[in-house]
Amino acid sequence: MSETILSVKNLNVTFNEEKVINNLSFELERGAFLTILGPNGCGKTVLLRALLRLIPYNGEVSWAKNVRISYLPQGFTHLALKDYPISVKEFFELKNAKDAEKYLEFVGLGKDIVKKNMGDLSLGTFQRVLMAWSLISEPNVLLLDEPTTGIDVQGEITVYNLLSELWKKGITILMVTHEIDIVYKHSTSVLCLSKKGFMCYGRPEDLTPKKLREIYGFGIKIYRHVR
């Protein structure tokens, strides 16, 4: 029997005087891999931040009692970490993590990485370090906001494989992305948002090209950020 880990009822979020999330309701089972899909500016990040209670909202967001949530905000755009003089080891020590190596090894990074400066890491490595960092508190729910933005294809595959592994370990994953191929490959459910307020929620198999067209408008474009 599967248990509900997150239940959202009539969620409304107004951001900058604009109604971004309109009467959204859905339930998520423990152990799900949810992809939140949609074009730029449709409120994916806003939804995550509301689920984390970082911004004010109306309606109900209730998590199961024993959740330990970790969150990976959108890479460099939201984390100014690149500007600070701090090594990888010290970044882990901010969270009292003694065994940084264990988590870094899990994301495929060697021991010598701990001495490096956070600002000197490549985008892909940086994202993996962040992922390792978010695992310190042994979360059972992981929220990620476009974890592969700005990462090359090879790095992208690594990140998604890692997520897949975490999911197999029983961690519930909620991930914002606008990469449609991910939905079919990894997720167990998909929530789509569009600028018009159209929303769908279901299994990836239900996400037909026709539906995608409704979400994204005419034709499907995948935007990749290049740095």
Partner: protein
């Protein structure tokens, strides 16, 4: 006079160290702006202290604490940009001070005076500095994380409001203590400049913390010594020492 000099050097050195250490947490723009108005808020307190003849830091303290709480509340309650709030608090301090600051004593209030450091001051100031240092050390990681990303800090269960307040109160304390040496106009500098210099030269956090504290301490000693040697205002010389170190750090960064 010799005792007075020794005391000034010791007190100055430790104020500098703690100020530099605290300042190393002023990573975000928002934070580095707050020391300015707090410095200016010492002025009414300093004015009162000069009129009624009690300790300058003691006079400055309530005003600075009040200022810290004001900034904290403003930031929470309004959505105004921090710069606007800063201007409000800033000019509030100066205008109140100028209402009743005795003009012939204004110099001390504005640019500081080492002869104001006595034996009993030292007895009070040093433990207070130790406490400030200890609290800073305790909250360091959390405040750092808040600076990196407030969202991340909140998800980790850190109360951003609480730590911001504690941090502001720590800055208020060091500003009130520093006002006696450096004067109200420039106290912000002893918090802000050492960390800026340290940041130019450090690769990791430990490095950065140590350098910021050291630069803070050294510039104090240098400024006090130069002030005695040339009989020039101590506050100006402390800040100029800080700025000299800052320029040096830029040059060293390039090579």
């Amino acid at each position: 006079m010799i005792l007075n000099l020794m005391l000034s050097l010791v007190v100055g050195f430790f104020i500098g160290i703690v100020a530099g250490y605290l300042g190393s947490l002023m990573l975000s723009r928002k934070m580095s702006l707050t020391a300015g108005p707090l410095g200016h808020l010492t002025l009414p307190g300093v004015a009162l202290a000069l009129i009624y003849g009690f300790d300058i830091s003691l006079g400055a303290f309530p005003f600075v604490i009040l200022g810290a709480i004001m900034i904290w509340l403003f930031e929470m309650k309004t959505k105004l940009p921090m710069e606007a709030l800063t201007a409000v608090v800033f000019t509030f301090g100066v205008s109140i001070a100028l209402l009743f600051l005795p003009l012939d004593e204004a110099e001390t209030a504005l640019i500081g005076d080492i002869s104001k450091i006595g034996f009993y001051d030292t007895l009070i100031v040093l433990p207070l500095l130790a406490l400030t240092f200890y609290v800073t050390k305790t909250i360091y990681s959390k405040v750092f994380l808040i600076n990196v990303s407030e969202d991340l800090a909140k998800v980790e269960g850190i109360s951003v409001k609480k730590y911001n307040l504690v941090y502001l109160l720590l800055i208020a304390t060091i500003v009130a203590l520093g006002a006696k040496l450096v004067g109200g106009l420039m106290t912000a500098a002893i918090v802000a400049i050492p960390s800026a210099s340290a940041r130019n030269l450090s690769k990791n956090l430990l490095n950065y913390k140590i350098l910021a504290s050291l630069f803070g301490g050294i510039s104090m000693m240098l400024g006090i010594t130069l002030s005695l040697a040339f009989n020039l205002p101590v506050g100006s010389l402390i800040i100029l020492s800080n700025i000299a170190i800052f320029f040096l750090s830029i040059i060293m960064k390039r090579y």
